[in-house]
């Protein structure tokens, strides 16, 4: 809990300099982006902090073909308020972001910190559904899908997350739903569905469940159910059923595994209905 053992605070001015700290350090060093994690609880072994604000960008850039490139230091508010992101994939990112903590958190919490932390999250399932890519630095840059980023061999190893890329998705409609006790609360479970259409035909789909309460999981069988067909009530019901069957959930004190599993189907069905345009009850 205590932060009094922290003796050093560095603010490197470049990515390379920052990496110098990371590469040289052991468990006594931690990176600080928005700062929320370590201000709440710093493990006793942590004595050095490396502030990333001088080393990483907080810019959100949009390329001509619609790709959105987000610097790791961009705050969650900056992302929620960004013009292009507001309409990207039917605005799912902006809509989801209002569920993440509160404005007081989002005004300083960063996307890099959130994704690097990798825990119980509303953002991760949405970003996975949108085929987000992460760029990390370990002396050199590596780009990978967000799902690959969560491989322990990457995420648990020393690295600096520098950028997130959301590829253009001109044919996508997406929806995000979550269940929590109060509005300002961590989710009991959440779901994001994205469907790419060619006319009425579904050409591709992503169905991702988060807060199960494990890491985000893709419901591939459910995705297959809705792909290469029209999005019909029967197809939606079958996909919801498939997701229920394939997603593993765990119980805890906020919800039992049985209830979470039940909710998998409900949320997937409602997201898909919303996408199909007959407004699944929110």
């Amino acid at each position: 809990m205590s932060r009094t053992q922290i003796a050093e605070y560095a603010r490197p001015e470049s990515l390379n300099e920052a990496w110098g700290f990371v590469a040289a350090a052991g468990p006594s060093m931690r990176l600080v982006a928005g700062g929320s994690d370590l201000t709440i609880a710093s493990p006793p072994e942590v004595t050095r902090l490396v502030d990333l604000s001088g080393a990483l960008s907080n810019e959100i850039r949009v390329t001509a073909d619609g790709e959105i490139n987000i610097g790791a230091m961009a705050t969650l508010s900056a992302i929620a308020e960004h013009r292009t992101i507001a309409s990207h994939a039917s605005g799912v990112v902006a809509a989801m972001m209002t569920d993440v903590g509160s404005p007081l958190l989002r005004n300083t919490a960063t996307i890099g910190g959130h994704l690097a932390r990798g825990k119980l999250s509303d953002i991760i399932p949405v970003f996975i559904a949108l085929d987000a890519e992460a760029t990390t630095y370990t002396g050199e840059l590596h780009t990978m899908t967000l799902a690959e980023y969560y491989d322990d061999a990457v995420n648990k190893q020393p690295h600096i997350l520098t950028n997130i890329r959301l590829p253009p998705l001109p044919h996508a409609t997406a929806a995000f739903l979550r269940l929590s006790r109060t509005a300002f609360d961590f989710p009991i479970i959440n779901a994001c569905c994205r469907v790419d259409f060619d006319g009425d035909l579904v050409t591709d789909a992503r169905i991702v469940l988060g807060a199960t309460p494990l890491r985000s999981q893709r419901a591939s069988a459910a995705e297959a159910v809705v792909t290469a067909a029209d999005l019909t009530p029967d197809g939606i019901a079958a996909a919801a059923e498939a997701a229920r069957a394939e997603i593993t959930t765990k119980g805890g004190w906020t919800a039992s595994a049985e209830y979470r599993t039940h909710l998998v189907a409900v949320l997937v069905e409602r997201c898909l209905r919303q996408i199909a345009g007959d407004g699944g009850a929110a």
């Binding site: 205590s2 109060t182 300002f184 609360d185 909710l263």
Partner: protein, 782 residues
């Protein structure tokens, strides 16, 4: 018969408002601390039930900066209660400052005083304790089971009902013969409800700062609802004469009952006494959750019997209250389960209340807004809906026929007091009928009840409940007020009453201003300083407006009489020919004298004396405020989530001295009640350790969680209260549980009997209900 008032009845701005919005240093933790201040850190029990075999503080004491370590070996071993109640407290003396036994996770083990908080915390972690772990009692049923571990096996506890059986307190009160009453009834229903552990969660946690003043007197600055009880209890515990202690309550950041406990003042005081240095202790949020006080969880059974025409004939309420590791407020909260609910339906000649408060190895219950009534109304008001359904009478209609009215009484008033016999009383004001009618109209009862309107997966329903509370504790509470006049015709009002954010400094000032015919800014209010202000039992039991307000009114009337006497001398007129208004005393012919002229004469010129008075008030009755609570809710059939669509409450608090502040009391209580109904809950692991020890895990409502709320203040005038006022602070919290439960039934047919109504719990109840329904083929109609 409301009178016309000038200052009372106005939404005056709080007298402390500007300091609060500006963030001035007005709270305990804001006081600039002396460099010599010692900061305290506590070592809490990690076990629910254990005997302390040994404590080794050598490593902790060696940490540079550590000044003193307290534990059971070097502190007074007197038994006492932390409940800040009148003397002698109706709570058992079953606690010690530090005991050789710990009885819940979060019980005190040791306290370190050091130069900084960090050093104190670090040292506390170095204290080595050897525990003999005992079997823990973690439920009401386990507590009363044959052969259960005895939680209070000490030989020096006082006033515990039955130590060997883990029963802290026991209460019975009856009138008529319920067995006969039920036998004579045509319809009988019985409901058993269970309520959970919850916490008050004031945004300012417990805080205390103590020091010796220049004259060597001990000053305790505390975030407390009961400064005078703090002085008495700390004095007795530490063997300090009352005259050596001064307790000051500055602004405090909410209380809701949790600061009606003397939880940390003894520690700071003892450290200051032992070391001569100032001492400060501010609870962390985690400490506030694990080791302050909670709402007593209860299992309550209410049985109602009625005649076929709907007349209530018998009521019986039986309660098992979980008082946790210590019995603070155990008996009195238990009493209120019956006394604050059963008189509401006074038509029944056969009434009985029976209850036990049992010890468990879980956090300690305490005073929490609603004080037992909140738990009890769940059973009573859902039982009423079931009874009305059985009788085929609309639930609102049934209540209108059976609730208590002005001029009536209930035998329960006398049979059940606060842990003892109560007092007879006749209801001197009751606008409940109007509350019900206006609330029903506004919510659309006639159109919506029983309609099960469906909107996608959401099914709508409306529900209601009615309530009463009290206004202070009759023949127990006492408040005093001192009023003195200044040169310019202004006044100092000194009250022992404790403003915990409620605005009582403001409304007490308004009462004085009204009597004296001056604007509020001519009244300088000083409150809650045991050296400067007269005695007051404190802010609890919805007492301040009614009890302290009456003391203020009496003092102001006394001062007014003195003013008229002086004015009569100036104007050469008998006092009964003078009228006072707008800061002027006027003779029949229009000749006037100002208040300032009166003050100047009596302070400097003739017949010199301080125009001043101190008056006390002890209430002989406790006139209940009344409330009708209505909600439209929607239930998501598939997830079990409840959404409150609209909430309306109509409240009769007598005269609302300050309507804005009165509404604010109801709105705040209501939202707290909604949180308690839907999600607030302390959850424990299987060893009795609380898992919900911060606001991320223990959720309280935020602004996005509130429904549209409308509070309707229905005026009545209680002749026994100041300017016709009764109380308003607690009653609002009683509504949401039964109102929501009744609305859920209206929407779905499901009776909820256990709080909180979490989505998963409702989902399970819906599923079970559907499984139980016989699968009927719809009748074929031609």
């Amino acid at each position: 018969m409301a009178e016309k008032f000038a200052v009372v009845g106005q939404s005056e701005i709080r007298v402390d408002g500007r300091a609060l919005v500006g963030g001035q240093p007005v709270f305990v933790d804001d006081a600039a601390t002396d460099a010599k201040t010692l900061h305290l850190a506590l070592l809490w029990s990690p076990h629910a039930h254990a005997r302390i075999r040994s404590i080794d503080t050598t490593a902790a004491a060696d940490v540079p900066g550590v000044e003193l370590i307290l534990d059971h070996r070097n502190t007074p071993d007197k038994r006492y209660t932390t409940a800040g109640q009148g003397y002698p407290e109706p709570s058992p003396y079953d606690a010690r400052m530090f005991d050789t036994k710990v009885r819940f996770v979060g019980d005190r083990v040791a306290c370190v005083a050091a130069d900084t908080v960090a050093v104190a915390q670090q040292a506390a972690e170095l204290i080595e304790v050897e525990y003999e772990i005992l079997d823990a009692v973690l439920t009401i049923d386990a507590a009363i089971a044959e052969g259960a571990p005895v939680i209070h096996d000490e030989t020096d506890a006082l006033d515990v009902w039955n130590q060997d059986r883990n029963v802290a307190a026991h209460m019975v009160g009856a009138a008529g013969d319920v067995a006969q009453g039920f036998a004579e009834s045509d319809v009988v229903v019985e409901v058993t409800t269970e309520t959970q552990y919850a916490q008050h969660a004031p945004l300012e946690p417990h805080a205390v700062y103590s020091y010796f003043d220049a004259n060597g007197r001990l000053v305790i600055v505390s975030s407390t609802q009961v400064p005078f009880h703090v002085r008495r209890i700390v004095g007795r515990l530490l063997d300090l004469p009352v005259h050596s202690i001064r307790v000051i309550k500055p602004r405090i950041g909410g209380g809701f009952g949790v600061k009606q406990e003397v939880l940390i003042e003894d520690l700071a005081a003892l450290v200051t006494v032992r070391t001569g240095r100032p001492a400060k202790l501010i609870y962390s949020r985690e400490e506030e959750f694990i080791s302050s006080r909670t709402r007593h969880p209860m299992r309550i059974t209410t049985k109602l019997g009625a005649k076929a025409d709907g007349t209530l004939h018998a009521i019986e309420t039986t309660a098992l209250s979980n008082t946790g590791a210590y019995g603070t407020h155990g008996l009195t909260v238990l009493s209120n389960v019956g006394s604050k609910t059963l008189p509401l339906y006074n038509k029944a000649p056969h009434v009985r209340f029976f209850g036990d408060a049992v010890y468990t190895n879980l956090p300690v219950g305490g005073a929490y807004r609603g004080y037992g009534a909140t738990q009890s109304y769940f059973a009573l008001e859902t039982a009423v809906d079931r009874l009305a359904a059985e009788l085929g009478i609309d639930a609102m209609e049934w209540r209108l026929r059976n609730h208590i009215r002005e001029g009536e009484t209930s035998p329960i008033f006398k049979a059940l007091g606060e842990g003892r016999e109560g007092v007879d009383q006749i209801i001197t004001s009751c606008a409940l009928e109007e509350c019900i009618k206006r609330g029903a109209e506004r919510i659309g009862w006639a159109d919506k009840r029983g309609k099960r309107h469906r909107d996608g997966d959401w099914i709508h329903g409306v529900g209601m409940s009615i309530h009463m509370q009290g206004s202070g504790i009759p023949l127990v509470d006492m408040a005093a007020a001192t009023l003195k006049m200044n040169d310019d015709g202004s006044f100092n009002l000194l009250v022992g009453a404790t403003d915990l954010g409620t605005g009582s400094d403001t409304i007490l000032g308004q009462i004085a201003a009204e009597v004296l015919g001056v604007p509020l800014d001519h009244i300088v209010v000083t409150s809650s300083d045991t050296d400067l202000t007269p005695f007051d039992t404190g802010a609890y039991a919805s007492s301040t407006t009614y009890v302290s307000g009456m003391a203020v009114q009496l003092a102001a009337q006394d001062v007014m009489a003195q003013i008229l006497e002086v004015a009569g001398a100036i104007l050469n007129t008998p006092t009964d020919e003078l009228t006072a208004e707008g800061g002027l005393i006027t003779r029949a012919d229009g000749e006037t004298v100002t208040l300032s002229e009166v003050a100047l004469r009596s302070l400097y010129a003739a017949d010199q004396r301080q125009i001043a008075a101190t008056r006390s008030f002890v209430p002989e009755v406790s006139p209940p405020p009344f409330m009708a609570s209505f909600a439209e809710i929607a239930v998501d059939e598939r997830t079990g989530q409840i959404r409150i669509v609209d909430y309306v409450v109509a409240v009769d608090c007598g005269t609302a001295i300050n309507p804005n502040l009165a509404e604010g009391q109801v709105e705040g209580a209501l939202v707290n009640g909604i949180g308690y109904a839907l999600y607030e809950e302390i959850i424990f692991d299987d060893k009795g350790k609380p898992l919900t020890d911060d606001f991320a895990r223990y959720k309280i409502p935020g602004v996005l969680d509130i429904p549209p709320i409308e509070v309707i203040l229905v005026e009545s005038y209680d002749p026994t209260g100041p300017m016709g006022a009764k109380s308003i602070s607690e009653i609002g919290i009683n509504g949401p549980i039964p109102t929501i439960a009744n609305a859920v039934h209206d929407a779905t047919g499901v009776w909820l009997t256990k709080t909180p109504f979490s989505a998963e719990r409702v989902w399970r109840a819906l599923r079970e209900y559907q499984d139980r329904q016989p699968s009927v083929t719809p009748p074929v109609r031609p």
